[in-house]
Amino acid sequence: MTRLRILIAALALLASTAAFAETTIKIGIQDDPDFLDPARSRTYASRLVFTALCDKLVDVAPDLTFVPQLATAWTWSADNKVLTMTLRDGVTFHDGEPFDAAAVKFNLDRSRTLPESLRKSEIASIVSVDVVDAKTVAINLKQPDATLIAQLSDRAGMMLAPKASTGDVGAKPVCSGPYKFLQRVQQDRIALTRFDGYWNRAAYHFDKVVFLPIPDTSVRLANLRAGDLDIIERVAPTDIKTVKDDKSLHVFNNPGLGFSFITFNVANGDRAKTPIGQDKRIRKAFELAIDRSAINDVVFEGLYTPSNQPFPPTSPFVDKSFALPARDVAKSQALLAAAGVKTPLDVELTVSNSPITQQVGQIIQAMAGEAGFNVKLVATEFATLLSQQQTGRFQASMQYWSGRPGPDGNIHQFLTCKGSQNDSHYCNPKLDDLLNTARTTTDLAQRKALYAQALPILADDMPSIDLYFEPRLIVMQNKIKGFVPNPDGLIRLKDVEAKP
């Protein structure tokens, strides 16, 4: 027995010296990322990995302004149709290839023309990319595009090494970020190792970064508490109390970009032909029956931000004068009576099968029930849900959007007549005009005014009900210092280090 103990102690010692020699940070993430190819990736999980792996032209600061990363400066032409970017000196890709204007052109062209690219519509305004000199690139647009910088701060702006990226990128991406790709075991881990040629190498303190997909929130937390992980993201609000009681852990609770909303099917096929699909008074009645703050208190421990607009609480586009409507059951009932429907009115609400969404669904069911709605919850798994929504096999559906820093990416594709994610088939030409104009308007005050005009139209037509914004709850070991949270929830490892 003692011999066994000695053996174990020796092994532990061995393990700890090994850890001293090489520092590793382990990050528990919720989902397994998809393709690690910026042009093809579609998941938030892959963005978490890209943050350490691939630098972008532009980065997003915690205050949602855009700051230099690979581009050190940028200017717009007078007609706002040419964006000229100055590129950082002394940057190389993980395979040693230098980063220059030709590489930017290669990447933007790749995102625009690769058949499988999911970035096409994000940078659809680009007509051509010109290499002005090695460190200057000019991006020519069809029309002014106020969203372009925001797009270049995400996957469309990530730079791959041109020579290494002609074939299959996803299996072994070669970028220019602080860490380079080491190994991936699907559904188990993605390991990155420090890139010694990084232009800002001194700001990164770990030799290795390992991302471990652990879908269950309580399991993720248990791993952190057991010391097997250093950082976890998307912690359940109900676990925050437990975390705060644990002296060895530290919580970052930062307002986030992701939000939940209910979409009504107003014109997508036969299932739109319901009272709630056809009569906006009934949809308004539904909204008035819901108490967003109560949902926040009951399910999210008051940590979420109830909202009736698709703009994150930190965004300059939030219209403060457009107040959150209070729950009003009497008014809701009056609207239902005015619409002349027989109560209780049957409404089918499709929800995803996550326990949290179902909990929210049941609260809405109970609240709407008091106003005269008979809500039937239809819990559906994700793949089925997606195709049902697209083909219009729903009456009302709870949806979630991971959110974008700019306003356009939270509203245009959902609510314009031809929007790619407009499952409701809602169409109001007046709103289309406003949102399309806002896209091409670069002046902040003018854009704000345009969105401020759009909100009342939406509140009147009520094609969807915005519910709440989700904070980015990140928990880490106390010894991890220097982390700066960002509304996008991505974990930037710059200046982060382990100090016991």
Binding site: S218, Q358, Q362, A366, L377, A379, T380
Partner: protein, 292 residues
């Protein structure tokens, strides 16, 4: 008929019904199991009158409260009374367990009997089908059925039943093989008894015991499988309770509100225990070999 009467004394015959019943009634464990199950069944039937609260009525003022004089088993994540949900949930869960096992046995046992008794081509064919079903993942089967028939508790039971069926078929076949050459069967065949007589009167009673054991065990997995299906939106639909879906909801609150998982967990455990006690009594009473 008369011939059977004359040869039967030399064979293992099931004891007469009354003696089996007598033995069964004399089994203390079986009686306790049956008693508990009857109580649960009555609770399920009379739920509207017994349950202290409405099982789907939310109350946001009493979210996740521990057991108290007001709420004997505490409340859940939406402030609903757990005791009331447990009583109503008995309906879904007991029926789900019972029906799934009934489906599994009704299909699996005859298939296993045919395969084991007749052997040859029939055995080959049945074994192939059973193998195919065995290697098909439960989830694929369940989602596909849910998609065809629509999500509901009944369809969840069908999916659970179908996926539990191969076990019964394989078990039955193996048992039949093991007794196929016993003297009493050879004897019965030698005197020219029709096959269905032999199967019904001599084969089935002699292999029933492991099947009853398995049936009692399958009820447990069926009740738990309903939990994973309701998690996928394929079982009991919210807000209506089943023990499985209650356990599922409790998963996220194991530390903050352990009573949420204890109540349905204990209910499932007691049910499983009772079914197994009952099963023991039944297989004792039915087993012709243990009559001496």
């Amino acid at each position: 008929m008369t011939m059977i009467e004359t040869v039967s004394p030399i064979l293992f015959r099931p004891r007469s019904t009354s003696r089996a019943l007598q033995k069964f009634l004399g089994n203390k464990g079986a009686m306790i199991g049956a008693g508990i199950l009857i109580v649960f069944a009555l609770a399920a039937i009379f739920a509207p009158w017994i349950a202290p609260y409405n099982p789907i009525k939310t109350n946001f003022l009493v979210i996740r409260k521990p057991p108290s004089a007001l709420f004997w088993l505490g409340t859940d994540e939406l402030g609903r009374d757990l005791l009331s949900r447990l009583i109503w949930g008995a309906r879904g869960s007991l029926v789900a367990g019972g029906i799934s096992v009934a489906i599994a046995m009704a299909i699996g046992v005859p298939l296993g009997l045919l395969a084991g008794y007749f052997g040859g081509k029939l055995d080959a064919l049945i074994s192939r089908i059973v193998d195919a079903l065995l290697s098909c993942p439960f989830l694929v089967l369940a989602i596909a059925l849910g998609a065809f028939l629509g999500p509901s508790l009944i369809n969840a039971m069908i999916a659970i039943g179908l996926s539990a069926m191969p076990i019964f078929a394989r078990l039955t076949r193996g048992q039949v093989l093991s007794i196929r050459h016993e003297d009493y069967l050879e004897g019965a065949r030698a005197i020219g008894l029709p096959d269905r007589w032999i199967i019904a009167r001599y084969v089935l009673p002699n292999i029933l015991s492991p099947l009853v054991v398995q049936a009692a065990l399958t009820i447990a997995s069926a009740i738990l499988a309903e939990a994973s299906l309701s998690f996928l939106g394929l079982g009991q639909q919210p807000p209506y309770p089943s023990w499985g879906s209650m356990l599922n909801a409790a998963r996220n609150f194991m530390e903050q509100a352990p009573w949420m998982s204890l109540a349905p967990g204990a209910a499932i455990y007691i049910t499983v225990l009772s079914f197994n006690l009952l099963g023991d009594g039944l297989s004792d009473a039915l087993d012709p070999k243990s009559q001496h």
